[in-house]
């Protein structure tokens, strides 16, 4: 019965979404307050209905109700209970339901927590979100119903894909979906601006916290996905430029451009049409990402061609969304033209550079991701775009972006004087560039890439330190340091933390790339291998049963060169009962300075094994950097100014002070 309740709830959600669209858009157009209030209530109701539907699905998994096809295919009675829960979204149908739940959650949040907006703006945003939700729920029920029955019910389920039986996979999809779906809110704000013709500083301040929240979830989702790939795939890589990763990275790049462009829109009233276009692009690319990951085109264009209903539905949704939005844009955007003029050497100019580079990077990654699929689909040959392409494009595009990132906050709006900053900038450049070179020379590893990375790290961290220092200097006499610190607005702290996070991340990636070491070696019990001044003693492999798998568990004792104990590591090779899939489970010893990473290869004979040993310096900083960016996003989104701003107090664009 429970599964049928799930069906009913989904149908209800569709009906409520339709109400939300009608009362939201029509109410705002006709200025009927009662309709607009109804639309908001509909958004709240939809959130509740879909949350219940999701709870029902989880309950079905916990009950191991194998009469539901999805449960039978993705869970078993031996699956530990927390993986039974996560199995609910470790598959196509369930994850699409989670997408819809996340969207409904965002809509309900807008309906509930955005008193600052005018009623009409709120109704329009809620209405557009309802439209997205309506399309998506249709997709869910028509092509991917998670509550379909399986007759007759099998006695045992097929278990969750072993790759997904992992803590990282518990949190990765929800975070990423919150990010993906968050771009729908930004999109809804942009469409509402086009519909109403109102896009002033107040609009920017309303939209900014939502955009920042979406961006921070995307950041976290990508980071956790990368972390998962690092420890779970068993060969120590953390970014592969594979289509699934790119699918989330492209919207991230566009959202990064957006959260910078909207600053100019807020402070100077410029870039308005461009900001709207970025919002449309970010959401469209999120949909495209969902299509790429969910339609199966990546695994096989032919598999997709033999059952294209899902993919075509998302593609249709995408075409309608983009087509209608761009038509609306062509019609309404001319009224958004204008905004303050600015000079070569101004904060606007640096933010423009940021936007150009981020968009170019997004397009370049998109090209590399989609091109092989298109060639294959059109029958023009099989090829792939290698990792070197992405590196060759990405590094030159991001280097100037990071360079300007560290300068931009020092510049004044509209027009700054080059002479005011030139001496200092040149000095900073010389000092950081030569310090990076000296450090690398000391470590005896001078390469262009390592130097570039280290220089950017120093450039950014030094710039951040100086920025904070100047900010504190810049205050009236007599204030204590804590007073001065507390006066700095949240959006400034957010910017500062996120930019510092970029520096931290670059440091991690650079030092890891320059100093990591790897050794693949055949080992017999008792044998010792040496790598990066650590000694690895292989103690052999023994069989060890797990809840739903049997593992071959190796023991490797790690010591320093002079014999001090460091760690005892247990890499595993697991065989899952139901899927009969072998899985490599790496063992990692982490300190802030380095990871020691060990994984089992294949057995050579009865007691010899191929073992992979890795020394990975500074890995922690790879996760710390994005974490700082996300914290920065959160701090900026919580800036009190965005929440306090009442609609009737809104100041027109351009009239706000020059200082941040």
């Amino acid at each position: 019965m429970l599964a049928e309740w799930g069906q009913v709830l989904l149908a209800q959600a569709i009906a409520v979404a339709a109400l939300q669209v009608f009362f939201g858009l029509a109410g705002a157009q006709r200025g009927r307050v009662a309709w607009m209030v109804t639309a908001r209530r509909a958004a709240l109701a939809q959130g509740a209905v879909l949350a219940t539907a999701f709870a029902v699905l989880i309950a079905l998994f916990l009950r191991s109700d194998f009469s539901v096809a999805l449960v039978a295919q993705n869970s078993s009675t031996l699956t530990p209970w927390f993986y039974q829960v996560t199995a609910a979204w470790g598959n196509h149908e369930g994850s699409m339901l989670m997408w819809a739940v996340a969207l409904a959650g965002w809509s309900a949040a807008v309906a509930w927590r955005s008193q600052a907006l005018t009623e009409a703006m709120r109704a329009r945003v809620v209405g557009v979100l309802g439209l997205v939700s309506f399309g998506f729920l249709l997709f869910l029920t028509l092509t991917s119903n998670p509550f379909s029955r399986l007759v007759p019910a099998p006695e045992q389920g097929r278990d969750l894909n072993p790759l997904l039986q992992d803590p990282g996979m518990i949190i990765h999809p929800p975070l990423l979906y919150m990010g993906y779906v968050g771009t729908a809110v930004t999109f809804a704000f942009a469409i509402a601006a086009l519909l109403s013709g109102r896009m002033d500083a107040a609009w920017s301040r309303w939209a900014r916290p939502w955009a920042l929240t979406a961006w921070l979830f995307l950041t976290l989702g990508i980071m956790v996905g990368s972390w998962w790939a690092y420890y779970e795939l068993g060969w120590g890589g953390w970014w592969f430029w594979d289509p699934v990763e790119n699918a989330s990275f492209i919207p991230w790049l566009v959202m990064t451009a957006f959260i910078h462009s909207i600053i100019v829109t807020e402070k100077r009233g410029a870039f308005r049409a461009w900001t709207v276009l970025l919002a449309i692009a970010a959401f469209s690319l999120s949909l495209l990402g969902t299509f790429l990951v969910r339609s199966g085109v990546i695994t096989s264009v032919h598999a997709f061609a033999s059952d294209p209903s899902r993919g075509l539905f998302i593609l249709g949704l995408l075409a309608v969304t983009v087509g209608v939005s761009l038509a609306l844009f062509a019609w309404r955007a001319p009224m958004l033209a204008g905004g303050g003029a600015f000079g070569w050497f101004s904060r606007e100019a640096t933010l423009l550079v940021n936007n150009v580079l981020m968009s170019a990077a997004a397009l370049a990654v998109l090209l590399g991701t989609v091109y092989p699929l298109l060639m294959d689909a059109l029958g023009l040959g099989k090829l792939s775009v290698g990792e070197p392409y992405f590196v060759a494009v990405f590094v030159p595009l991001m280097t100037p972006a990071v360079f300007f990132m560290a300068i931009s906050p020092f510049l004044r709006w509209k027009q700054d004087d080059w002479r005011r900053l030139s001496k200092r900038l040149v000095l900073d450049f010389v000092v950081t560039a030569s310090a990076a070179l000296a450090l690398l020379a000391a470590a005896d590893h001078v390469t262009l890439r390592a130097w570039l990375g280290l220089w950017l790290t120093l450039w950014v961290t030094w710039g951040s330190a100086r920025l904070l220092w100047e900010r504190l200097q810049n205050r009236a006499e007599g204030q204590s340091i804590s007073e001065r610190l507390s006066r700095i607005p949240g959006s400034w702290w957010g910017m500062w933390l996120a930019h510092l996070g970029v520096g931290v991340f670059i440091m991690g990636a650079t030092l890891l790339g320059a100093f990591e070491a790897r050794l693949d070696v055949k080992m017999a019990p008792g044998q010792v291998a040496e790598l990066a001044s650590y000694r690895f003693r292989f103690q052999g492999v023994e069989e060890k049963p797990g809840p739903n798998y049997t593992a071959m568990r190796g023991t490797i004792v790690v010591t320093t060169a002079d014999g001090k104990p460091v760690a005892v590591l247990h890499p595993e090779k697991r065989n899952y009962h139901f899927s009969a899939m072998p899985m490599t489970e790496a063992a990692i010893d982490t300190t802030w300075r380095r990871d020691i990473y060990v994984s089992l290869g294949d057995p050579v004979n009865e007691n010899e094994w191929v073992v992979m040993l890795f020394y990975k310096p500074m890995v922690l900083f790879l996760w710390l950097g994005p974490l700082l960016m996300a914290v920065g996003g959160a701090v900026a989104a919580l800036d009190r100014r965005y929440r306090r701003q009442r609609a009737h107090l809104a100041v027109p664009a351009g009239a706000v002070g020059v200082r941040v």
């Binding site: 423009l352 170019a360 290698g386 494009v393 693949d520 490599t584 010899e608």
Partner: protein
């Protein structure tokens, strides 16, 4: 400069940036396309030695051999019509095995041995790397058309 001129020069700056970005992307793109060939195409001499590309097919039964160091593996990839000897140093993916689909990425040595830098196998029991099945399909089709 008048505001109008300023605006124009900024637009020009943006366009110049964009143009150089596009040039960068396209040149990197051309250099890094990894083409896919089948063992039959290599047998027909269609692949250039020294260039980086991908080969897919089935791992021939009985062809997997480990070198004395335990790390170097040699095997043959076949599309059922032709087989290509491959040498690879490193750990193989979990689901690599005889009669399973696999894709190798690397360069063809002048002696006709394919030196793989990367070996991909399927992700799960039911999934065959698309390129591997493509290679076998091609060979089947060729065989078919020869008969007709």
């Amino acid at each position: 400069m008048s505001p109008r001129q300023k605006r124009l020069s900024l637009i020009l700056l943006g366009l110049a940036l964009l143009a150089s970005a596009v040039a960068l992307v396209l040149s990197a793109f051309r250099d890094n396309l990894v083409f896919f060939v089948t063992p039959s195409e290599i047998a027909q001499g269609k692949a250039q030695a020294g260039r980086y590309f991908r080969v897919g097919g089935l791992v021939e039964a009985g062809s997997i051999q480990r070198g004395p160091d335990g790390i170097t593996v040699t095997f043959r990839i076949t599309d059922t019509a032709h087989a290509l000897p491959v040498v690879y140093r490193g750990a193989l993916p979990d689901l690599f095995g005889e009669n399973q689909g696999a894709v190798a990425e690397g360069v063809l040595r002048p002696d006709g041995v394919f030196e793989a830098k990367k070996v991909l196998a399927k992700h799960d029991e039911t999934y065959m790397p698309p390129e591997a099945s493509h290679a076998v399909d091609q060979a089947q089709r060729a065989a078919q058309s020869l008969k007709e």
